[in-house]
Amino acid sequence: MSIILKNVTKTYKSREVETHALKGISLEIKEGEFIVILGPSGSGKSTLLNVISGLDTPTSGVIKFKDLVLTDLSEDKLTEFRRNHLGFVFQQYNLLQNLTALENVLMGSDIGKDPLDPEEILKKVGLENQMHKYPYQLSGGEQQRVSVARSVAKNPEILFCDEPTGSLDEATSKQVLEVIERLNKELNATMVVITHNPGIGAMADRIIKMNSGNIEEIIINKEKISASQIKWG
């Protein structure tokens, strides 16, 4: 058992207006599972990612990771939790522009308790010939693969990917997703991918559909397909 959410809510208040971004979410994510969270804009999927990963605190409810009750942790402890257990990939590659691909990955491995070899990881994502290049010398897909490599370099137990293909074309997106898929299998890392592209759901163990701050539906994929087989749309 990896993560458990019990009746998690998140409400944003601004002046007179209250926005209920999450309305009592309960969910369990298993170790090594590949989860895709689907939903339209405003459905609460990014808020869900934020609270699960300790980037934000829920208004109510409990989130547990193994023996840790995340909702009870201080800011510093949450930082430690992210440092020791989580990896993140975002739509924007967020590479550090004045570091090479390898150096960017080093930034990830430097803080891992049992980090992976950065060069090996770059090989795994198919960038063995690009590791000394700076971000501006890489294509968008390559930059996102560096971003993925950086996230997994510290050997996290869970990798959160928030719209990882949001800025990429279909072919490049598939390459990135293949990398994520392979790392899920080879490293047995739990993958939580947020997307609004329903096609990507087909490669997940479970699809969690969200709408208006609620889980609308959970679909278990009996037959997963590989990233290359995804129908883009």
């Binding site: 804009s41 405003g42 459905s43 609460g44 999927k45 990014s46 808020t47 934020n50 980037l55 934000d56 510093d76 930082t79 430690e80 939790f81 992210r82 440092r83 020791n84 989580l86 993140f88 975002f90 739509q91 924007q92 967020n94 550090l96 522009q97 004045n98 570091l99 090479t100 150096e103 960017n104 990955v105 080093l106 930034m107 990830g108 491995s109 430097d110 803080i111 700076y134 971000p135 501006y136 996230s151 510290k154 928030d162 719209e163 949001g166």
Partner: protein, 790 residues
């Protein structure tokens, strides 16, 4: 609407803009203060020096008779034994003295007929005024050259009248019409006088300039002649306008030693090389150049930082600018608010700095007048100063920021709306990266972070270097007076020195008194130096080397030079030196250098020096005594109190200390602003990266360290690099003064200066980056997600 948006931007960046504004104000303030203060002095000074015939050069001559002169006048039988100076000759027979002076003048002019000479006589008087030891340099008025100028009041016309320096009178609460007692006589002050050959109050050899305890004075010629006091003289000279300084040096100054009939001439020095009369030219020019240079440096830093801020603002608003362009707004209309923003940063601050400068100019001018003996004009505003202080930097602000604005506005709307986020890597990053090969990612991030923008890094590096340089310069200046005067007096044990009056019976030497012999006209090569004889086993005037070791006993076997003479004339321990003493030249070994910057002297054993200058007649000559108790004043020509001289030097020291505080304050402010603006700007530029690092699990402390500590490392590197630069720059300055004016400025670098500088820079660093650190702590984790959000 656009203006409203700009006002919001100002609100958001107010601290950065206020900081920039502060150094803009500082630059304009420095320039206008110094310019007006100096302009208030320069024009009247130039006019006064021209109208009152400032000498073009001066000629120092032996104050004793040469053997030839002595035999020509055939004095041997008439002058009592022991009287051998020209002052004594005048006391004995004034006509003989003036005939001799005329003869010396004629011989000189025969050799150099294109020049003119005029005798300049003066007497040093020491007296107690209201219980305060005071020195007066009474100068006999010139006929053509160096004529007295009455700042206020009238020239003395009766024997009991005197004119003094205005600053001396003011500092002692005296006014025209007041009475002043000199020894047993009372004089009425008739006016305030200035002499063109004393623009800098070096009324003797020592560098003690406290105008509250010394004054230039003018009396009637008769009163002058009847005054007690040591008579001294030199010749003031004028040269044709077409003779350049270089020509004078080549054709006159450097040829003196070749003229056998000019054996009574010691040296001829141009006014521009005389500290007492010519230093003012370089001081005024230098003061202006320093103010201009410093202002340019400070304002350049401000202009570049402002341009960077404008660029950042534009970059943050590029989407909005793109939209406006797409909607059909004209470039001029879009650019206008940004130009207003530049104007708001620069114009009020430049004008405020200028106005503050105008207000501060008068006190600054008065501060000059505390030390210089010059006429002054009231401060009047000038268009040229206003234009240089306000208009010129404003033009640069507009041009540089305008370039940035117009460049951004010339970008196509689509590119502005959907910018490429690619960021190329500069050469500095590549170099630093290669130096950090094999380092951890965190380390690389840390040190590459600050160098990613070459312009910002250069501003940072040179700004810190400039601040350090000014700070170290100030610290090194701090102990200068101490080393020049106070330390040398502290090292000796006498309390009084008294000078023999050759016209009186030689006083008996009492217990606690020790003889010394001074021969002021010795020559080492062509350079004039004072030869001083002291007893080898004396108790009151011991000589010490730089390690504090007593070296007085070495005089038994050779000579000792002061540090000042050693630096100026390149005399080193172990050198064999030819010293011309009267008609004799002796070769002595320099056995040590005494740690004394107060005067250029070469020390001998007194008996040996007496034997040489009396040409074997006697080993008992002496010109004065050192004493632990106050000697009976009426037995001597002058009695000087060590404590009084030290007090004067300490007053100067206080002034220097204020100057040091101001300079350290200015440099600290510049460093603070640079660190504050650049670090907060860096944090703002890197919201997403900082947020990302936090998301990745880096703690706040680690993030602060990675983002800001690189600045710490570069601050330290810049600080360390500034030390040798400062030392080289000061070395040049010391050489300039030593060669230009024959004045050794004992700047001294001590490791404690570096420590003080380091502590200040560190305090500034942590103070300046505190805001950056707070900003880092405030950056939300979700910032990294905001780029697209939901």
């Amino acid at each position: 609407m656009l203006i409203k948006n700009m006002l919001k931007t100002i609100e958001k960046k107010r601290l950065q803009l206020i900081s920039i504004g502060t150094i803009v104000l500082l630059s304009s303030f420095l320039y206008s203060t110094m310019s007006y203060a100096i302009n208030g002095l320069e024009a009247p000074t130039e006019r006064y020096l021209e109208e009152y015939g400032q000498e073009d050069f001066s000629v120092d001559m032996l104050s004793v008779l040469t053997p030839k002169e002595a035999s020509d006048i055939n004095l041997t039988d008439e002058i009592p034994a022991g009287i051998y100076t020209l002052a004594s000759l005048k006391n004995y027979d004034a006509k003989l003295y003036y005939d001799l002076m005329d003869k010396r003048r004629s011989v000189f002019l025969n050799n150099y007929p294109q020049l003119d000479l005029e005798l300049r006589e003066f007497k040093e008087l020491y007296f107690r005024n209201d219980g305060v030891n005071t020195k007066a340099l009474v100068i006999k008025d010139g006929a053509k050259m160096n004529r007295s100028y009455m700042e206020k009041g009238d020239k003395p016309s009766a024997p009991d009248e005197i004119a003094v320096s205005r600053i001396y009178a003011e500092k002692n609460g005296m006014e025209i019409g007041d009475l002043i007692s000199i020894d047993q006589n009372t004089f009425k002050i008739t006016g305030y006088v200035l002499f063109p050959d004393y623009t800098f109050p070096m009324l003797g050899e020592s560098f003690i300039i406290d105008n509250s305890k010394q004054t230039l004075s003018l009396m009637t010629d008769d009163a002058f002649e009847s005054l007690q006091g040591t008579l001294d003289f030199r010749f003031a000279g004028s040269k044709p306008n077409e003779m350049s300084s270089m020509e004078f040096r080549e054709k006159v100054a450097d040829t003196l030693s070749d003229k056998e009939d000019l054996d009574f001439v010691l040296s001829a020095a141009l006014t521009e090389n005389q500290l007492r009369s010519g230093a003012i030219f370089d001081e005024l020019r230098g003061g202006k150049a320093f103010a201009l240079g410093l202002s340019i440096m400070i304002v350049s830093i401000a202009i570049i930082i402002a341009a960077i801020i404008i660029f950042k603002i534009l970059n943050a608003e590029r989407g909005q600018i793109g939209l406006l362009k797409a909607l059909g707004y004209k470039r001029k209309k879009i650019a206008f608010p940004y130009f207003v923003l530049v104007g708001i940063i620069a114009l009020p601050m430049l004008v405020a700095g200028y106005l503050a400068g105008v207000a501060a100019a008068e006190p600054m001018k008065n501060m000059y007048l505390e030390f210089y003996l010059l006429p002054a004009n009231p401060i009047a505003q000038e268009a040229s100063v206003f234009l240089t202080a306000v208009f010129v930097p404003m033009v640069f602000f507009i041009c540089l920021s305008g370039g940035v604005i117009l460049r951004m506005l010339s970008t196509k709307p689509l590119e502005l709306l959907y910018p490429h986020r690619e960021q190329k890597v500069n050469r500095l990053t590549r170099i630093t990266s290669s130096l950090l090969k094999g380092a951890k990612g965190k380390t690389k991030f840390k040190y590459l972070y600050a160098v990613r923008n070459t312009g910002k890094f250069a501003i940072f590096f040179f700004g810190i270097a400039l601040s350090t340089l000014l700070m170290l310069f100030s610290f090194m200046m701090d102990g200068m007076i101490d080393r020049m005067a106070i330390e040398s007096y502290e090292s000796v044990d006498y309390e009084y020195e008294a000078y023999i009056d050759p016209a009186k019976t030689i006083p008996e030497i009492k217990k606690g008194q020790e003889k010394f012999l001074t021969y002021p006209n010795a020559l080492v090569g062509n350079e004039s130096i004072a030869a001083t004889g002291i007893e080898v086993d004396n108790e009151l005037y011991k000589l010490y080397d730089e390690d504090g070791k007593d070296i007085t006993a070495l005089l038994e076997k050779g000579a000792i030079a002061t540090k000042s003479a050693s630096l100026k004339y390149k005399l080193d321990k172990g050198d064999k030196v030819d010293v011309k003493l009267g008609s004799k030249t002796v070769t002595v070994e320099l056995l040590a250098v005494a740690e004394d910057y107060s005067a250029d002297k070469i020390y001998f054993e007194r008996g040996y020096l007496s034997d040489i200058i009396s040409e074997g007649e006697t080993k008992d000559l002496f010109t004065g005594i050192y004493s632990s108790e106050r000697p009976q004043a009426d037995l001597y020509a002058a009695v000087l109190e060590k404590k009084a001289i030290m007090n004067q030097a300490e007053l100067m020291q206080d002034f220097m200390r204020y100057a040091v505080y101001i300079m350290v304050g200015v440099s600290a402010m510049v460093a603070f602003v640079i660190l504050f603006v650049l670090t907060t700007m860096t944090v703002e530029d890197n919201y997403y990266n900082i947020s990302l690092l936090k998301v990745m699990g880096y703690s706040k402390k680690e993030v602060s360290s990675m983002v800001l500590d690189s600045y710490l490392a570069y601050t330290i590197i810049s600080f360390i690099a500034s030390i040798p630069i400062t030392l080289v720059a000061l070395g040049w300055m010391v050489e300039f003064f030593a060669q230009g004016y024959g004045m050794v400025i004992p700047f001294e670098f001590r490791s404690v200066h570096a420590l003080y500088g380091f502590i200040i820079i560190m305090v500034i660093f942590y103070g300046g980056t505190y805001a950056g650190k707070r900003k880092i702590n405030k950056i939300a984790l979700q910032e990294v997600l905001k780029a697209y959000g939901e």
